[in-house]
Symmetry: C2
Subunit: 410 residues, 2 copies
């Protein structure tokens, strides 16, 4: 039998999905599982967005332009204009989800053996795309104590080697929820200019900012040829299944190269491009309600977490994720145990161990990521479950006097 | 400014799309262009398939399972059963078009530096996916004189080196239209078993066979662990824009590896999975009419081509492509010239130079690919244009005595 490739072996399993069998087993036992583990929002996809597809009346489901329908790209120009991002439609290549935008950027800008520098914790699937592209993710650690703020410029200077060709951020951040400030982006600009690096900016959660305005890497003056924006309609319009994203840059050589990758796979999905185009026409206040909803969920989640003995959760500035430090020995064990061996009033909660979001071994061992994609009532119930679980978990590290045994060390 | 990657430079441009600016210029001059250059069928997507999407009533456009909706995969099992292919739904991974199935197979089975052996002429985008995966396409030449039949076993034996890890075929073939016989597939089986190779079988045109029954590589007994089927709904149901395909194999290690690639990109498009699922429920005789239509188009095309002085076009057994040898000096020049400098009654025709489908330099220089994706009346008009063009083309190689000057040599 022929063997699979080394790349196939090296390809990481999804750290989020490996707990799925335990959740399924819990459900079979009649236990209700609150899913705070994945970024699948429960928010309804806006009706006009779905209706645009449902009312479409073409006769042939044709390939679109490899860069996406021109009408959609022109519409996206008006979308970006709202954020003072000035573009032409030819600077936008519509991709199959944000995922493909990331893969295309890796492939077009980096060669096998090159490296991309990412603040950790980071979106774990960057690892998968790196393996596909034969490149390596190097990390620079951000810390829960500072709410996962951007590491200092000196730390970047120390981390940069000749193999590093790009810095990559997710802003606001998945998994930390941290919203990078304009000042932090200016630091990145200096570093990228000094070392001639690309800046890959994943801005999937642009609209969901609670502690300030979003500042896009596309607005860094003088960095136009270095910045590549990865975008997606998945979270913005609760349209994850559409698989429509975009790669945006003013660097013509990158556009030309990415276009060749886009042509090889022929076109992005046609149905969801119709949805994406309709989404740009939603009233501008569409996000007000959604943002207020996420913000109030965040408030409930973070407040309840920080009231639990030994728990610390910095208040996230954007997206819909938070990372909390728990008084536990091992987040992977805990997240499995809470599904497999625990329930409270026939309920439990599914969380993501933060270890999957760090590259440095040992980091995140007492941290979990929580996605606040459920309504507030469910979040409250989930937090009650978590609180009870922390009281009885065999690997708890909280002492009777309130001090934490091991947790702080990790 | 940071530079693009070597991979980005090596990535081939689409050989089909490079003539697009000339076609656009012709249209601006008021010339009607018959598009025989791309595999975008004019056949309407079946109404029940589009209606399934239009009548869908979900509220949230969610991620599907990374392997595709289970209901769709179970439906695909019944589809494959019609061809005596026995499977479980867990042996099917739904992909974003057939394109992604090809990329996943390359990535999961081959490492950088490995090679895949493909009979040429071949679908040019295999080159693009090979560059993405860091692998190399090696070719074994099939010949227009034999209608592009599979090269002999001895030719395969000569072509196989330790770097070759897989043989890849497209059956029926794009770009030649050749339908591989069961006997030819048995030859491939012997070669694959002897050298422990994967057999990648792209069967996008399975339903469109005119000269015999389709025999799937999945039905090669004893080769179950070597065969990977790449499939797509694009041509089958004239649903190219859906971007739904599938990777099918009985090799569990490959399924496990491919699943990790599938998880990294989260899920295939949701809308078109609904379309694909509805398509399996079309009446089984749905293809009778479509196939009869393509076959009658083929008959018109091939007959008219072979009546032109100095032209030879073998009769294709399947798909909707034909390769014709023309009495011309250079197919690339000719295909540009016919758009740029020729028209007959304000009409012209767009063809694909066959050079783009060969890897061996010089081959295909007097051959073009024609996709019979237009109605018969348009095909007739296009053939009249082509016939007139061949009379006046400055690089024509046909002499007054009927002999061809250079064409046969290439």
């Amino acid at each position: 039998m022929p063997t699979i490739s080394k790349r196939g072996e090296q390809m990481p399993s999804s750290p989020i999905r490996k707990l799925v069998p335990y959740a399924e087993a819990a459900k079979k036992k009649g236990i209700k599982v609150y899913h705070l583990n994945i970024g699948q929002p429960d928010i309804e996809t806006p009706k006009p967005v779905l209706d645009a597809v449902r009312h479409s009346n073409f006769k042939v489901l044709e390939y679109s332009h490899s860069a996406g329908n021109e009408s959609y790209r022109r519409k996206l120009v008006t979308y970006y204009n709202r954020f003072d991002i000035q573009l032409t439609h030819e600077q936008i290549i519509v991709t199959t989800g944000g995922s493909e935008a990331i893969l295309f950027a890796f492939m077009a800008c980096l060669d096998a053996g090159d490296e991309v520098l990412v603040p950790e914790p980071f979106y774990a699937n960057y690892n998968g795309f790196a393996v596909e592209a034969g490149i390596k993710v190097q990390t620079i650690t951000s810390h829960i104590e500072s709410g996962f703020a951007l590491p200092a410029m000196e730390d970047f200077e120390k981390a940069i080697t000749p193999r590093i060709k790009a810095i990559m951020i997710c802003n606001p951040n998945n998994p930390t929820g941290y919203l990078y400030s304009r000042e932090e982006l200016e630091v990145l600009k200096q570093v990228c200019l000094r070392h001639n690096l690309y800046l890959f900016s994943d801005e999937a959660y642009r609209e969901f900012c609670y502690t300030g305005e979003h500042f896009s890497a596309m607005n860094l003056e003088g960095l136009e040829n270095n910045v590549i924006l990865m975008d997606t309609i998945s979270k913005r319009y609760s349209a994850c299944g559409g698989r429509i994203g975009a790669l945006v840059t003013k660097n013509q050589a990158v556009l030309d190269a990415v276009m060749k990758f886009a042509q090889a796979r022929l076109s992005p999905p046609s149905f969801a491009q119709i949805a994406g185009e309709a989404a740009v026409d939603l009233p501008v206040n569409y996000f007000d309600e959604i943002k207020a909803e996420y913000q109030s969920r965040r408030d409930v989640l973070v407040e309840m977490l920080n009231k639990m003995p030994g728990v610390f959760c910095p208040n996230p500035g954007g997206a819909f994720y938070a990372i909390a430090r728990l008084p536990i020995d091992d987040a992977d064990k805990f997240c499995q145990w809470i599904l497999e061996s625990f329930s409270y009033e026939q309920q439990t909660v599914m969380l993501s161990p933060a270890t999957g979001f760090y590259a440095t071994p040992g980091l995140g061992k007492n941290e979990v990521r929580l996605a606040y994609v459920l309504n507030k009532e469910d979040i409250r119930k989930a937090m009650i479950c978590l609180s009870r679980a922390l009281e009885v978990y065999p690997g708890k590290t909280l002492q009777r006097n309130g001090s934490v045994l091991l947790g702080e060390k990790h």
